[in-house]
Amino acid sequence: MQNIQLKESLYEGQKIHHPKTWLTKYIFSQDHKTVATQYFFLSLLTGVVGVILSIVMRLQLGFPGVFDISPDTYYQSITMHGMIMVIYLLTAILLGGFGNYLIPLMLGARDMAFPFVNMMSVHFYALSVLLLFTSYLVPGGPTGAGWTLYPPQVLLPGTPGYDWGIVMMILSIAVFIIAFTMGGLNYVTTVLQSRARGMSLMRMPLVIWCIFLATVIGLLAFPALLVAGIMLLLDRLIGSSFFMPDIFQFGQHVTNVFGTEYEGGSPLLFQHLFWFFGHPEVYIVALPMFGIVSELISCHARKNIFGYKMMVWALIVITAISFIVWAHHMFVAGMNPVLGFFFATTTLIIAIPTAIKVYNWVLTLWKGDIHMTVPMHYAVGFIFTFIIGGLGGLFLGNVSVDVELSDTYFVVGHFHVVMGISPILAMCGGVHHWFPLITGRTMNNFLGKIHFWGTFSGAYLIYIPMHYLGLGGILRRYYDFQGLAYVSDSLKDMNIFITLASIVVGLIQFIFLFNIIWSYFKGKKVGKNPWKATTLEWQTTTMPPGHGNWPNNLPVVHRWPYDYSVPGASEDYIPQNVPINLDTSGENSNE
């Protein structure tokens, strides 16, 4: 053992750890592919819980009082649903799942730069999920303050989980942030330091750019959440008043855990800190989506991404601007109104690079040799839903309109389309696309198309009507609307319709999960590179790639990743590691 350790540290090359036991192969694996699969399974399981929670919420909203759902249960469901979906499902699956699998393979590396840290990150993630669900076991249940956990309500009696639920929630988030930091450092170091020969940054596939920049955003944004969480935890546990102001409840000055009164804190500071994290967080989710879609569109339309350089620069600009738009979530919070002007401007500016990306995807499809495979369905569906959802954001970004629409179902509709439907479409497209690589079999196309059309319709059946609800004045996070005179019967009927649609669409999601499991065992086996893609992960010798990814030498990259339909080439794609003079002179390729 001593000998191996000495040799190990002599080379900075990936220390490929050959596991021998079942435990080291499947539980404590340091292989990035296994770690990625672990992330996938854990986050999908958590996501199933999130879907169930959303059905609970919808049942209450569509049929108030019928299902015996108490207000406490309702608010706890909202909070857990939000936190699970945004952080434990989307961030984990897009960065942990796709990132871990694709980064070393697409860069021509054998594994991540620090495989041990990679393994630790997924175990910390598992711990954070465990802590999250432990909040159902503590007295009082989970916190019911909404996923934004705003003080002072989150610590006041009356809010479910104000005593212990919030403690478990913050602990869970803190552990998740540790997991994310470990994974994130790994990704950034791997992308910047251990690419294959010939792979410059501008020859990386767009999905790697996206995941890399999303990780950078995360490393800079999660600290704000950690600090806010620590200060909130201290307010609860040691009676400090970082966020708790001089507040009276039922005529009594609210006291902390030690019996002294809260005074002098600033709830607005929490909101600033939370949204300093919260807005970049949605870009952490959005950027990998963009990347997956870019890969799907170029591969399945047999055409290079239109404007690769602009796509990269748009991503970098989005990354930078995402840090200066946060207070558009706070236009009605009572902050200094002057700041509203600043943040509205930056919010509208960030729409520009995002729009550039959308134009480029459409232009990639233009006159392309489009194969309407299941991944292509998902990619095109993504473009539709992202545009529709994004347009809602244009309204909300303006302060004057936001004052009316804030905290209504207009906002709920907007973010569910861009953060709910679009990521699902992108993710499922990605899973379909890379399934042959991971397992050597294809997924069932028929089931895939059913799932696609069901989910895609969901955007229009469930969430577009929510925009109307919002305009009609239906407010979010309300347990029910009984006794509110301005809520007409038609709005209530709309709620029923949305509930029924969401149940159907929610059940359709299980078709996708079934498809994964069924195809893993019974799917049609395929040979190497069934989609005829150019990127490096498809150029491994076996599907799935073996341990160490490339058995002999690491690949050497000669061209950019989008040499599709190059004029004069013998096939309609040229893999990245094919030398330049071997197949045309690469007229279309970059550099």
Binding site: M1, Y11, I16, L554
Partner: protein, 116 residues
């Protein structure tokens, strides 16, 4: 005997020459400078300066000390430009955060004192 395969990755041997070792004098000089700057910061408080001059001196002395530690002790002055930029640019977001939070904090104070 566990078989471990180790693959020498091309990035292991950086193409640049490793930095020449610096003489100890450099670090002693930096340490002395830090000591003097710290003493000056302490002095600002000792003589009870107030107001803008106090805040300006505290900040500028702290930034100078930070600059010394980062550039000399952490060796950044001799690293490649790419690394220097990568490390020095993200804190700009912190500066912006500081400005916005200061603005907000001030506004809240005004509201609290006006409407108390």
């Amino acid at each position: 005997m566990i078989e471990e395969k180790f693959f020498k990755h091309p990035s292991f041997f950086p193409k640049t020459k490793p930095d020449k070792s610096h003489p100890i004098k450099l670090y002693l000089f930096a340490w002395l400078a830090l000591f003097i700057l710290s003493a000056m910061s302490y002095y600002v408080d000792y003589i009870n300066l107030e107001g803008l001059i106090r805040w300006f001196l505290i900040t500028i002395l702290a930034l100078m000390k930070a600059g010394l530690i980062v550039s000399v002790f952490m060796h950044l002055a001799w690293e490649r430009v790419a690394l220097i930029f990568t490390i020095l640019l993200p804190p700009i977001f912190l500066i912006l955060m500081l400005a916005i939070f200061a603005n907000e904090g001030n506004a809240i104070n005004v509201i609290r004192t006006t409407f108390n």
